[in-house]
Amino acid sequence: MDLRVNGEPHSLDLDPRTTLLDALREHMGLTGAKKGCDHGQCGACTVLLDGRRVNSCLILAVTLDGASVTTIEGLSHPVQEAFLEHDGFQCGYCTPGQICSAVGMLAEADGASLPDAEIRERMSGNLCRCGAYPNIVAAIREVAAR
């Protein structure tokens, strides 16, 4: 199967059971997307699939022939700098998922105004056990307001 990841074409021969997350982490050396729960319950594995945020742990890679994936390694977005400034993380394990999710979320919002409550609701699929939530929201708020 052929998959474009962060703009680069990849030809892969995978076990049909291999998820997109495991394909990235174990077969392509892209460990930015994290495995926090492996069941779509934490958001740490969030990547952008054809521009939309998805849980890569619940997608079988074999279904993605011809698709385009962006991981944290392929992102260059103001949200990243805002996370640094607002201390939007502690342990960092949920961070790539939070950032990919925020980027996807901002695209979904398409310029609509995002009060804090709306950011929180839209970001609720990304758990952070360190409790960086207020800082993450501050980071996203700053970027959304630009």
């Binding site: 076990d15 926090g36 990243q80 640094l84 993380f89 056990r129 800082n135």
Partner: protein, 679 residues
């Protein structure tokens, strides 16, 4: 020439490793590329709570091409002696809890390992199990000590007489459920043998401790086990000591001759890496009519396992928190067919102060006395008094009508609550090395771990000031067991302990008259230090709203005021405080590991069922602190800040729920089903 360098300590420096964490470059234990022959381990867990494993049968057809080894007690390599019996994995036939590791599959691929593990046939002689903690459990006993090294019982004055004679009395029982640390990064190890030496990329809070513990199991001195722990995806106590994943990965690598990666699935974390014991706590408070405590009695019941004793120090903070002529505390344990409880953020203080601080709120209600004032009248700690007073002002406490169930906006009942917080200031011996680089920069090394605490950043600040160098001229290396030995990242002691060693090494280098390298070991100084009676304090304030239609609780505001030594980096410190408070919110409202007594295990074992707070749960939250350096404690004047946020914040929320609704929830979490019938 003398140059003036701005002090780095106290500045809100960004995290040193931040750029790596926001670009995906930061590597965690399961993410190292260690060769083309990497194999994958998968743990097989016991489906019964008690019994013996008599045989393991492998279906020869399942994943036949890819399975490299199936290990169980019948064929696993013999290990050396383990201080922690839970690390003696696959060594005998006994099953002591449901979810215990009973076999390990190693395969060429992750998919094959998981499927082969699922298909193993386990022959088990199951026995009746006992997994339910009760206040009247017939086997309750008083342990000799509670963690880390306190007497189980304490008594001053005549509590029974003082309580019986008190003008106002409160006698209540609070229950907290089993809780799970649930760091975002599941426990993971990538193990490889380099000759007879062992290399472990492991997610933990104490690389030198892991090296020593795992080394002993494989008859290796700690120096021949190299533990690399560059980044850790949270631990909250559950990674303080080696967990079975490290031992199993090393075992798998030894048997197969390949590097083995073993990342526990999320579900396994709920039985294999520890939890906070459920507690049943009876609190009796007696007071004079003007609100002076005369009797305090705190009796806590928890559980331990059949394997060894872990005694949570639930009632210990009650020994110092308030002044009363008669104070008694005690702990009892039941040995259950359950996993051994472990450290979870603020062990002892978190559940214990929940009960004490809710009971104090009940006492304030009985006295018709403001709950802040009740606390002020009964503490002997000036810094606690200041946190209460200043915190109340900053939060806007004084506007409240003290009567419960008075404020209603639409469908919402609204209330506010307060609770105190305390955490001991602990320091442990550590060593560090400072080495001058050819370009004049200095590299500081210590085998500490940064779990997201900001340790790497704060140590850089401490080192810069001790060296008299600008912050960006110092590089701190941590996360490697071969560096100078450091204490565990636990007990809110990391920065104080490591910072002391780093300060010592840097000062020694600076004063060495031109040497290239200096080391420092704080052991002698720390052993001389009297740490008794040193505490951080705080006051938590919460405003909640409770939906009269549904019983849903929302925390509109959560505020913490702390006196926790000198704050070394306000940016990362604030994050730690509010992170603890948010975990406290989870403890108050969401978190519960639900036991099925018949199955002998918790039936909540993933993030869909074990609820932690999400973005939408966290509205307004803020942490502030007093300027409170304790120069006598360590060279930085700091105290630990990693745990105090979870101490008392749950009680503040529960007290606010009572103020909003008039309902006292005494068994956590305060979910809607407990509120709805009385709303």
């Amino acid at each position: 020439m003398t140059t003036t360098t701005e002090r780095a300590v106290g500045q809100p420096h960004r995290r040193v490793e931040g750029p790596d964490k926001v670009t995906g470059a930061a590597r965690y234990a399961a993410e190292y590329q260690v060769g083309d022959d990497l194999a994958y381990g998968w743990v097989v867990q016991s489906p019964v709570a008690r019994g013996t494993l008599t045989a393991v049968a492998v279906d020869p057809l399942v994943e036949a091409d890819d399975v490299l080894a199936v290990l169980w007690h019948g064929n696993a390599p013999r290990l050396g002696k383990a201080d922690d019996p839970e690390l003696a994995v696959l060594q005998n036939d006994r099953i002591s809890y449901r979810g215990q590791a009973v076999a390990l599959v190693v395969a060429r691929t992750l998919e094959a390992a998981r499927e082969a593990a699922a298909s193993l046939q386990l022959a088990i002689d199951a026995e009746p199990h006992d997994t339910v903690l009760r206040a009247d459990h017939p086997d309750l006993y008083t342990p000799e000590k509670v963690n880390p090294d306190f007497p189980s019982e304490s008594s001053t004055g005549d509590v029974d007489a003082a309580f019986a004679g008190a003008a106002v009395r409160v006698d209540v029982t609070y229950r907290t459920p089993a809780l799970h640390n649930s760091p975002m990064e599941p426990h993971a190890t990538t193990a490889l043998w380099a000759g007879d030496d062992l290399v472990l990329y492991d997610s933990n809070q104490h690389p030198p401790g892991i090296a020593a513990t795992v080394g002993a199991l494989f008859d290796l001195p700690a120096a021949r086990v190299h533990v690399i722990t560059e980044h850790v995806g949270g631990g909250f106590g559950s990674k303080g000591t080696a967990r079975p994943n490290a031992v199993l990965a090393a075992m798998g690598a030894k048997v197969t001759g390949r590097p083995v990666r073993l990342a526990l699935p999320r579900q396994a974390l709920f039985s294999m890496v520890g939890h906070r014991t459920p507690t049943i706590q009876q609190i009796r408070l007696g007071a004079t009519a003007d609100g002076k405590l005369t009797a305090v009695d705190h009796q806590a019941v928890g559980h331990t396992s059949r394997l060894f004793e872990f005694a949570e120090q639930t009632a210990v903070s009650t020994r110092h928190m308030y002044e009363a002529p008669a104070v008694r505390t005690g702990h009892r344990l039941a040995r259950l067919d359950m996993p051994t409880p472990r450290w979870m953020r603020a062990p002892g203080e978190a559940p214990g102060m929940l009960a004490l601080e809710c009971a104090m709120d009940e006492l304030a209600g009985s006295l018709e006395l403001d709950p802040v004032e009740l606390r002020v009248r009964n503490t002997g700690f000036d810094s606690y008094r200041k946190c209460l007073g200043l915190g109340a002002d900053r939060f806007g406490w004084h506007d409240r009508d003290p009567r419960p169930r008075r404020r209603r906006e639409g469908d919402w009942w609204i209330g506010t609550g307060v609770a105190g917080a305390t955490y001991p200031a602990m320091i442990q011996p550590s060593s560090a090395r400072a080495r001058r680089q050819p370009d004049g920069d200095v590299e500081v090394s210590i085998a500490a771990a940064d779990l997201g605490t900001g340790a790497r950043t704060v140590l850089t600040q401490i080192a810069a000031d001790a060296l008299g160098l600008p912050y960006d001229r110092v590089r701190v290396r941590i996360g490697d067991s071969t560096l100078p030995q450091a204490s565990v990242a636990g007990g809110s002691s990391g920065t104080a302990s490591w910072g002391w060693a780093v300060t010592g090494a840097c000062r020694a280098l600076r004063e060495s008259g031109g040497l290239d390298e200096a080391t420092f070991d704080s052991t002698a100084l720390v052993e001389k230090l009297n740490q008794e009676g040193k505490h951080a304090f705080g006051a938590h304030f919460a405003e909640v709203r409770v939906d009269a239609v549904t019983g849903e609780v929302r925390v509109s505001r959560l505020y913490g005021m702390y006196a926790a030594g000198r704050i070394l980096n306000p940016r990362t410190a604030r994050s730690q405080f509010i992170g603890g408070m948010i975990m406290g919110m989870g403890m108050a409202l969401h978190e519960e590991s639900v036991l099925d007594p018949a199955m002998g295990t918790w039936v909540t074992h993933d993030f869909a069922e074990y609820h932690v707070p999400v973005h939408a749960d966290v509205e307004s939250i803020e942490a502030e602190w007093l300027d409170d350096p304790d120069e006598g404690l360590n060279p930085m004047g700091s105290k630990g800040i990693g745990e105090i946020g979870i101490v008392g914040s749950p009680a503040a929320i529960l007290n606010a729920i009572h103020h909003a609704t008039g309902i006292r929830v005494r068994d956590l979490p305060a979910r809607l089903d407990k509120l709805l019938p009385s709303l």
